[in-house]
Amino acid sequence: MMMSDELFEYAPAPESRSVVRIEESYGLFIDGEFVSAKQTFPTIDPATEEVLAEVSEAGAEEVDLAVDAARTAFEKVWGPMPGRERAKYLYRIARIIQERSRELAVLESVDNGKPIRETRDFDLPQVAAHFFHYAGWADKLEYAGYGTTPIGVAGQIIPWNFPLLMLAWKIAPALACGNTVVLKPAETTPLTALAFADICRQAELPPGVVNIVTGGPETGRLLVEHPGIDKIAFTGSTEVGKRIARAVAGTGKRLGLELGGKGANIVFDDAPLDQAVEGVVNSIFFNQGQVCCAGSRLLVQESVAEELMTRLKERMATLRVGDPLDKNTDVGAINSAVQLATIGELVASGEAEGAERWSLECELPERGFWFAPTIFTEVAQSHRIAREEIFGPVVSVLTFRTPAEAVEKANNTPYGLSAGVWTEKGSRILSMAQRLRAGVVWANTFNQFDPASPFGGYKESGFGREGGRQGLEAYLVR
């Protein structure tokens, strides 16, 4: 660990893994039952590379079963059920999540590699809040302005960066509107979705309303192309999003996509500087930077660039990288070897293209997938690290001279998911917020989320919104 030579070293403060029992193997959750598939695949702890469990891989047969179960549940039970009854199921689920939050937080940290501080203080409270929020919508749809007719069976494919939270973002509004779902968690982080299946059983949710099919890209493809699916909701990379959009074209299926980003975090010279430094840290090192809306491009006004970089590096020196289950860990493990390789490849390109790299000096564990928090300066818009999503703890710093230049650089990307603005001047905030082409603009803050707040992208960052009243639109017939 760091700071070993300092007077006040923090002793390890590990959260106990005993609060969660991980099975040796898991089946698929179809029609209220766990059923095993022919194929299985391992899921590992990215901090140790230890195999946690064998998980079933859903093939064509199992996806058929899941879609059929969802269809039957939609037609017979969930679709016709009065909204107030659906609401109570969702409230129940929200409560059980709160009750089991410690267990779920540990499980998420173990399977994903993210720090327990984040799963405990961010992911789990947000998951419960999301179900709680949408529970209340179930019997109020006629006031939302999007009609009250559910679409039918939703196929939902979610990423590995916020496994349970993305599940909540998908399942809560779908169920509130009267749809049933077949959800595929990411290949590397299936465990909390399977724990959620158990929560559905504890809540006595009617069988078939929620079906969880684990698997890889092939399972995802089967789900996308399944004729029994009425709506596809996908969160993941822009590349896969485009593939899905092509596959869905002409089928009449509704589609919602929440994809990649290359968010610009803009710091003016009159910014509340210490909070801006904090905002930068939060924008790119939260969840190891594996966040689609990360502020991966830091645009700093030239007149304050040097001071900001000095303060940023000082602040970064206090980041604690290591065991995700240690309550003092700020930066945990990268989710997979594949993702680590992607980060490494892009970072190498940054160095090769002439940007200046500064990485935090810290001891990284020998096993597992780790990447030290990294800053690139002397970055030009044309560098790959300024254009491509790295999806890791790496920030590319560019400078600007005027507000117009900041806007121009910020918008100069095919993405349009998030942006940040730091300045004490109110009118400038409003002007910047207006001109930035991004679905969420954080002014004097970053990476804030709330179930009541619509989230989603412009341009190639996808379409449709999740969260709030606007989030209902995706699950109702228009």
């Binding site: 809040a129 302005g145 822009t238 999003g241 485009k242 959009a245 092509r246 074209a249 002409g250 009449g252 996509l257 994809l259 095919p414 349009g416 905030i429 917020a433 991004a438 679905g439 969420v440 603009v441 954080w442 002014a443 004097n444 803050t445 804030q448 709330d450 009541a452 707040s453 619509p454 989230f455 989603g456 412009y458 341009k459 190639e460 996808g462 379409f463 919104r465 709030g468 009243r469 606007q470 639109e473 228009r478």
Partner: protein, 293 residues
């Protein structure tokens, strides 16, 4: 060629001055860069005009014009956009007789043609009024669980490709175009009935609508639509006027840059349109700011 031979005795005392139907791009009326044209006949097969046969390069030019106009148009105050749209309705009303005649050429009875023009004017007026209201209906102040002001506002998505619907040449065109531009988008329209569409462009050109906000192309949709659907600087496409087959191809091409695709939203242009054609071309932007002293 169906222009009938006419006897010398039939020559009128005064020869009517015809209009050349060209394209409408960036506020100007150029011919197609390809130099091509095609014959437009009336419903009885009589020659009406040679319409410009737009090419893929005209699509390209139109998109450039639309993109150039986007910043200014979306940056106008909603009140100003509403006024300009209302002005367009005024101009449309003023040309009522001309549109009735052009619609009759497409085969409509006088009564049906008059009904369609009236409906088109009324629809345009209806949409004009939305300019400064849609944000209040589609936007929200969100009660988040923290010390933040959190506001969601609808914003135009950008450049919209529009395949104008068939059947109701003016009402259909108006019903897909008005909801696209009233919120600040700019549009490239591939027209269905070329003559009505270009006459409508003349209305736009005389209504203080900034150049490039609407661009009208005439020519075969199967030829032009795929270029529009595949264009990486187009943000959305309305497939109202596409056949099933063409729409499928366009939808697939639109995936290239993840365009918003409008399809299956209903084509009964006499029905209450609702807000769906506007909201489908809007992005929701959510802005957060801390609340503190």
């Amino acid at each position: 060629m169906s222009a009938k031979k006419k006897d010398a005795a039939e020559a009128p005392a005064r020869l009517r001055v015809r209009k050349t139907y060209k394209l409408f791009i960036g506020g100007a009326f150029p011919r197609s860069e390809s130099g091509r044209s095609y014959v437009v006949n009336d419903s009885r097969g009589e020659f009406l005009a040679n319409a410009s046969h737009a090419s893929r390069k005209d699509v390209r030019d139109a998109v450039v014009a639309a993109r150039k106009a986007f910043g200014g148009w979306s940056g106008r105050t909603p009140y100003n956009r509403g006024q300009i749209l209302y002005r367009i309705a005024e101009m449309l009303e003023g040309r009522r007789r001309q549109f009735v005649e052009e619609l009759r050429d497409t085969g409509l009875s006088r009564e049906d043609a008059e009904t369609e023009v009236d409906a088109a004017v009324d629809r345009w007026v209806w949409y004009a009024g939305w300019a400064d209201k849609i944000a209040q209906v589609a936007g929200s102040v969100n009660p988040v669980a923290g010390p933040f002001l959190n506001v969601s506002t609808p914003e135009p998505t950008g450049v919209v490709g529009v395949l104008a619907p068939s059947g109701t040449p003016l009402l259909g065109l108006v019903s897909v175009l008005a909801p696209a531009i009233v919120t600040g988008n700019t549009a490239v329209v591939v027209a269905d009935s070329p003559l009505v569409a270009i006459t409508f462009a003349e209305v736009l050109a005389t209504s203080d609508l900034p150049s490039g906000v609407v661009n009208v192309l005439t020519g075969p949709r199967v030829e032009l639509a795929p270029w529009l659907a595949g264009h990486m600087d187009v943000n959305a496409i309305d497939l109202a006027g596409a056949s099933e087959e063409l729409a499928n191809a366009c939808e697939e091409a639109a995936a290239g840059n993840l365009k918003r695709v409008l399809r299956g939203l209903g084509t009964d242009w006499s029905a209450d349109p609702g807000t769906v054609r506007m909201t489908a071309l809007l992005e929701t932007k959510t802005v957060w700011h801390p609340i503190g002293v």
